[in-house]
């Protein structure tokens, strides 16, 4: 009996290891897309960010960029706490932290939408094309992350995950961190360089 239980436990660990490896392969293929977007940005715009036509400053809002970047980093901390809490059986804390991550993700997406509305791009401007493409593709990943976090939260509050069965939470949280890593490179490329 004990041997059978041990075999099942090992099988579950093997499955998790394979899931994890598959997720990392997915991250690798996604990284190629984001790296190409990044290289397109530097090919088209070199090492500068254009200024407004009337000389009033940069076309992007620096404070807004710093703000949404901080919010996304904070959401990574809440996502990490959610995963750790559920791994250790602290379900209630895990549920609240997933919810906090969703809210922070939505605030980030709202910030990007506001930037789109207010950015001072001229029609046909190369940097505008690059900016909208990079932030658009990234924001789509953020929104899909929010949707998956919502699904995981919905199932978590129904008691579907615990200390022994939490791979879906870990997988979605890893995806969230990946989206954060992408922004770590996009933020300086679009706002600071």
């Amino acid at each position: 009996m004990a041997v059978a239980a041990q075999a099942m436990h090992h099988k579950a660990l093997d499955r998790t290891a394979i899931n994890r490896l598959g997720l990392w392969l997915f991250f690798f293929s996604e990284s190629v897309i984001f790296a190409l977007l990044l290289s397109a940005r530097f090919f088209l715009q070199k090492l500068n960010i254009p200024e407004e036509e009337n000389g009033g400053g940069q076309v992007v809002d620096q404070i807004l960029g710093l703000g949404i970047t901080s919010i996304l980093l904070l959401s990574s901390a809440t996502a990490f706490t959610a995963e750790t809490a559920i791994e250790h059986g602290k379900k209630s804390l895990g549920h609240w932290m997933i919810l906090a991550t969703i809210v922070l993700g939505l605030i980030f997406a709202g910030g990007v939408a506001y930037e789109w509305k207010t950015a001072q791009f001229q029609r046909g401007e190369v940097f505008g094309t690059v900016f909208f493409t990079m932030t658009g593709v990234h924001a789509a990943h953020v929104m899909s992350g929010v949707a998956m976090l919502g699904l995981v939260w919905f199932r978590a509050v129904r008691g579907k995950y615990d200390a022994n069965n939490h791979w879906p939470v870990s997988g979605v949280v890893m995806y969230w961190h990946f989206v954060d890593v992408v922004w770590v490179f996009f933020y300086p490329a679009l706002y600071l360089v």
């Binding site: 660990l13 093997d14 998790t16 290891a17 994890r20 490896l21 990392w24 090492l47 500068n48 620096q62 710093l66 970047t69 901080s70 980093l73 904070l74 990574s76 901390a77 996502a79 990490f80 706490t81 750790t84 809490a85 791994e87 250790h88 602290k90 890893m174 961190h177 990946f178 954060d180 890593v181 770590v184 490179f185 300086p188 706002y191 600071l192 360089v193």
Partner: protein
């Protein structure tokens, strides 16, 4: 669990500090190439911290689940 969360908070604080340093550095450094290499180094450091501590990269090579 508390130690794991504490470590996560320390990493989050380091990331926040690096982000602010990155911003101040970009605003104050005029040389375009120096600014580019500094920002690239900061971005790589931040990405490495997230990948290693938050995304548990080392777990890819292990079966253990716990922190």
């Amino acid at each position: 669990m508390n130690r794991a969360i504490q470590l996560g908070m320390i990493i989050a604080v380091i990331l926040a500090v690096l982000t602010i340093v990155e911003y101040i550095y970009a605003v104050n450094v005029d040389d375009v190439q120096v600014r580019f290499f500094g920002l690239t180094a900061a971005a790589l450091a931040k990405a490495a911290l997230i990948v290693w501590y938050f995304m548990h990269f080392r777990r890819v090579f292990h079966l253990e689940e716990a922190h």
